[in-house]
């Protein structure tokens, strides 16, 4: 087949001649293939699987694989359509010189094949090379030992080949469609006929402004982490729409406004730039908005997951305040014989508290840990509304608050008998039957001298004897969502009475529970906590079996939490998310930079003619240069600056989101966001310097 060589040569030459646009495109293809392979390979790697928490990371990575695949498709379609636009003229020429569209299709097919082959071979090669590096850094993040085996994952290779063959097929289809639809005269026509000046769309600009203000207001004023979780995506969508509107319509409106002011407009500095900017923003508004949103996404992703990664131990401690915590629920203290007879099984449960306590203390003593401080108390924890010293349980009011997301006046109320308080705090406080203690809470100070429960007739209005120091952090406190209110009542009967009324008021009510938590001594091995929990569990289980065999009431289940058992999962979850965020950030940043590069290139070609005229009319090269500088600077750094503003306004919301993940460390978030922003800005500036050089070269020629 003689023609084959000719077409191959034509395709190859076409790519070489357009190196300025093709090289970055091919590099992007290679980069995308590499990234996709690495993520796939890690996901299938046995080395990762055997890391501590590797399984969790692999689950997270499978999500990342989908995101990267999807992004690759969209992004390569975008860049490919850009390439086609640039080459339309060349194809038109071939067409007029007698090449049929079929022949053109052949050239395109060969080009796509060449690109695909190059991208897949180099991408996979680099992927193989760097997957080990990625694996090592992952093992580092998970703080597990490195594996020394070099793995090649055939599964990942196949998956990469499948996906990218599909993508290249789609790209080819798109190119063929474009060439097929185009008419040769159109293909040849210079793209340089007068352009209608963009009209300012004040309505859209205003809408964008309002949306942005709304989103910012939402983000800044939000207080509740659960609400933040729900509204985060609302705010994100509002910001995305607002960014697009402001970049597309708002920028034009602003330029128009500037043009209406002759004092400003008719100055050498502003004249040319303002006019050019007007047209540029129309062409580039969407692209710049995309860059801005990608940048914001990268920054938000990196700073939050970074925070989760570096704050993972703090979050873990917040969630598991003591290393080992045992608890029993549904404890019942009947008021009298009749009440006990009504629910005989429940009435028995309270007797097991001392039994289990004994078991645990025996095991503590056996291990020589008996001197560890212990938090040991019974409590009723429930939601209550407190208004003007009156504490009530009101289902309707609570549901309304949930609907309106307005929890002011609601508390997480903890009722704890005086004996238990004294035991857990090693104190010897006393109370009269009509007195209570209240523990201080700096977040929501209790300001009244009395406490009454109007729903419970038999209880008096309590006098607050004094404020006690803040109660230690426990896993039943929930300071992030509602403020805690610790009420020390004279005895467990009062606690039980409150419990009963609360159970009548709420559909999903709480019960009295027992809490027993302690830390492992520093000398202990973390794995001992698991052994400890197991010993107790087995003993309780034995008793349950015995009770069953004897036909007695079953002893209550003992619940436990063990921080060391949770740590692996927690760490791998947070590290995995951080790792994925880094991988995605790399992909997104590469995407944003490439969009920028192409923008500069297109603008260079578009501005060439205009600057030629300006030179003839008497603009000095220096003036041209400074005007160009100013324009590219604004265009380039606008997305970066806006992304920074978005990030700053999102700060409060991100903080609340992190609270929902159990992390409250504003300083850490500030540090990490600022570092992320600086690194990002550096990358951005480097990209700007390289691409603007290309722009100058085009404009100056």
């Amino acid at each position: 087949m003689r023609g084959f060589g000719f077409y191959t040569r034509l395709a190859w030459q076409g790519m070489c001649k357009n190196g300025r646009v093709y090289l970055p495109y091919i590099l992007t293809c290679i980069g995308m293939v590499m990234m996709y392979y690495i993520v796939c390979a890690l996901q299938n790697s046995t080395a990762v699987e055997t890391m501590r928490g590797g399984g969790t990371v692999q689950e997270i990575l499978s999500l990342g694989q989908i995101v990267i695949g999807f992004f690759s498709l969209l992004f390569l379609l975008y860049t490919n359509s850009f390439l086609l636009k640039r080459r339309k003229k060349e194809f038109g020429l071939y067409n007029i010189l007698g090449m049929s569209k079929l022949n053109l299709a052949r050239v395109l097919l060969l080009e796509t094949l060449l690109t695909a082959a190059l991208a897949l071979l180099s991408g996979l090669g680099l992927g193989l090379l760097f997957s080990k590096l990625a694996e090592l850094s992952l093992s580092r993040l998970l703080s597990s030992g490195p594996s020394l085996v070099f793995e090649i994952s055939p599964l990942a290779i196949i998956s990469t080949l499948k996906l990218f063959s599909l993508i290249f097929l789609l790209l080819l289809a798109n190119s063929l469609r474009q060439v097929h639809m185009a008419r040769p005269v159109e293909l040849l026509r210079a793209p340089n006929f007068g352009e209608r000046p963009p009209k300012a769309n004040w309505l859209l600009a205003l809408l964008g402004l309002i949306l942005l203000a709304g989103a910012y207001f939402l983000a800044v004023t939000i207080k509740d982490p659960i609400v933040a979780l729900g509204l985060f995506f609302v705010a994100v969508i509002m910001v995305i729409i607002a960014t697009y509107l402001l970049f597309i319509a708002g920028s034009v409106a602003l330029c128009r406004l500037l043009q209406k002011n002759p004092r400003f407009y008719y100055q050498t500095k502003h004249f040319v730039s303002t006019g050019n900017m007007l047209f540029r923003m129309r062409r580039n508004g969407a692209g710049l908005a995309s860059i801005c949103i990608l940048s914001t996404m990268v920054l938000v992703m990196l700073s939050t997951t970074g925070c989760l990664f570096w704050g993972k131990e703090a979050a873990l401690q917040q969630r598991f305040p003591q290393d080992i915590i045992f608890s029993i629920y549904d404890v019942f203290y009947p008021a009298d014989e009749a009440a006990a007879d009504e629910r005989p099984g429940l009435a028995q449960r309270q007797n097991y508290i001392p039994v289990y306590r004994e078991l645990i203390e025996a095991e503590l003593a056996r291990r020589g840990w008996q001197n560890q401080p212990v938090l040991d108390f019974r409590h009723l924890t429930t939601v209550a509304a407190v208004e003007n010293s009156r504490l009530t349980f009101d289902q309707d009011k609570m549901q309304q608050a949930e609907r309106l997301v307005q929890f002011k006046g609601f508390y997480y109320a903890h009722f704890i008998p005086l004996d238990d308080y004294n035991r857990s705090q090693a104190s010897a406080l006393e109370l009269q039957p009509n007195e209570v203690f209240i523990c201080e809470n700096p977040n929501a100070p209790y300001t009244w001298n009395t406490l009454s429960l109007p729903q419970i007739e038999q209880l008096p209005e309590f006098k607050v004897k004094s404020l006690l120091p803040e109660f230690p952090h426990t896993s039943v406190s929930n300071s992030e969502i509602l403020p805690d209110l610790w009420v020390v009542v004279p005895d467990e009967q009062i606690m039980q009475t409150v419990c009963n009324v609360q159970q009548q008021a709420y559909e999903r009510a709480s019960s009295v529970a027992w809490y027993y938590g302690f830390d492992l001594p520093e000398t202990a091995n973390p794995s001992e906590s698991d052994e400890f929990v197991r010993v107790i569990w087995n003993q309780v289980d034995e008793r349950t079996q015995q009770a069953k065999a004897n036909g007695e009431f079953e002893p209550p289940n003992i619940h436990y939490s063990d921080i060391n058992g949770e740590r692996d999962w927690y760490y791998s979850m947070n590290s995995g998310m951080f790792f994925l965020a880094i991988v995605l950030a790399l992909v997104f940043v590469a995407g944003a930079l490439l969009i920028m590069y192409y923008k500069q290139l297109v603008e260079g070609y578009e501005d060439q003619a205009g600057f030629g005229i300006l030179r003839k009319v008497g603009m000095t090269d220096r003036e041209i240069r400074s005007s160009v500088n100013w324009q590219t600077l604004v265009l380039f750094f606008l997305p970066l600056v806006i992304a920074g503003i978005h990030l700053a306004f999102a700060f409060n919301m991100l903080l609340k989101l992190l609270l929902a993940f159990g992390l409250s460390n504003p300083a850490l978030l500030v540090q990490i966001s600022v570092i992320c922003y600086l690194i990002f800005a550096l990358l951005y500036i480097a990209a700007y310097l390289t691409t603007s050089r290309i722009y100058y070269r085009i404009v100056a020629s």
């Binding site: 004249f271 047209f279 008497g618 000095t620």
Partner: protein, 278 residues
């Protein structure tokens, strides 16, 4: 006093890597008096565009001098040249060269904005000029909204608004239909009658016949020159056409001129004196 004096101008282009040399202008001398309208004719590649670029100070001559109102262009510092061009020269190009991104008014303002004139004065200059050129009603429009002739008028307004001592027009009727071309040339006549000096480079005999004097350039030299000297336009048109025919057929003489440039110069001077060609 001459506004423009061109003395023994020579321009040699060297290809980028030093290999080939191309002589665009061999030895060109002429002068333009104040209030004169001089047309320069010649075929493609004759060097007329090179000449225009040199006069416009867009390019520097290899040797020779250009004096604009007594000022030697070669002595103007590189940093001042753009400002000099802006203040002393007006340009009208074949393809208008209006910026698509500006309204006609802003296009016309452009050189004044670059000269940092206050807005009031700019507006004061534009209004009478726009009236004269008949584009007052079009000022707020954008180039894509108006016809080629109207665009070219705006370009003329842009050239005139700086009150330049010399207007350089490069094939201004080249892209226009004949009616618009006639209108534009009438406009030039009007401007010229008001005392504006014009240097027009053109292919078109019709356009050249509006001028007061026509220089013919061939192979980088002033080959011939015709004065209108009060002849009716139709008669001048004939003369120019004849001269052009002579120019393209008389190849022997052209070759001879190559070897003896001085002789040809004197021939040109001769015809300048007699005001015609035999």
């Amino acid at each position: 006093m001459s506004i423009l004096e061109v003395k023994d101008l020579q321009k040699i282009y060297t290809t980028r890597f030093g290999g080939q040399k191309v002589q665009a202008l061999q030895s060109v001398s002429f002068s333009v008096e104040k209030g004169e309208w001089v047309a320069i004719m010649g075929e493609s590649g004759s060097g007329k565009t090179t000449l225009l670029n040199l006069v416009a100070a867009l390019d520097r001559p290899t040797s020779g001098q250009i004096l604009l109102e007594g000022q030697n262009l070669a002595q103007i510092k590189e940093s001042r040249i753009a400002a000099f061009r802006r203040d002393n020269l007006g340009f009208v190009f074949q393809d208008c060269n209006l910026l698509d991104t500006f309204s006609l008014a802003d296009n016309i303002y452009l050189p004044l904005v670059l000269a940092a004139l206050p807005y009031k004065e700019m507006a004061a200059r534009l209004n009478p000029l726009a009236n004269q050129l008949g584009i007052s009603s079009l000022l707020a429009k954008y180039p894509y909204e108006v016809s080629g002739g109207q665009k070219q008028r705006a370009a003329v307004a842009r050239a005139l608004i700086t009150k330049p001592s010399l207007v350089l027009a490069d094939e201004p009727t080249g892209a226009l239909d004949s009616r618009s071309a006639d209108e534009l040339l009438e406009l030039f006549r009007q401007i010229n009658e008001n005392g504006q000096t014009i240097l027009l480079v053109t292919h078109s005999v019709k356009a050249a016949s509006y001028a007061g004097r026509v220089l013919f350039i061939k192979d980088g030299r002033v080959f011939h020159q015709l004065y209108r000297a009060g002849q009716p336009q139709q008669q001048f048109y004939q003369k120019i056409a004849e001269a052009l025919t002579l120019l393209s057929t008389n190849t022997d003489q052209t070759n001879a001129n190559h070897t003896a440039p001085t002789q040809s110069m004197s021939a040109a001077m001769q015809s300048a004196i007699t005001g015609g060609v035999d």
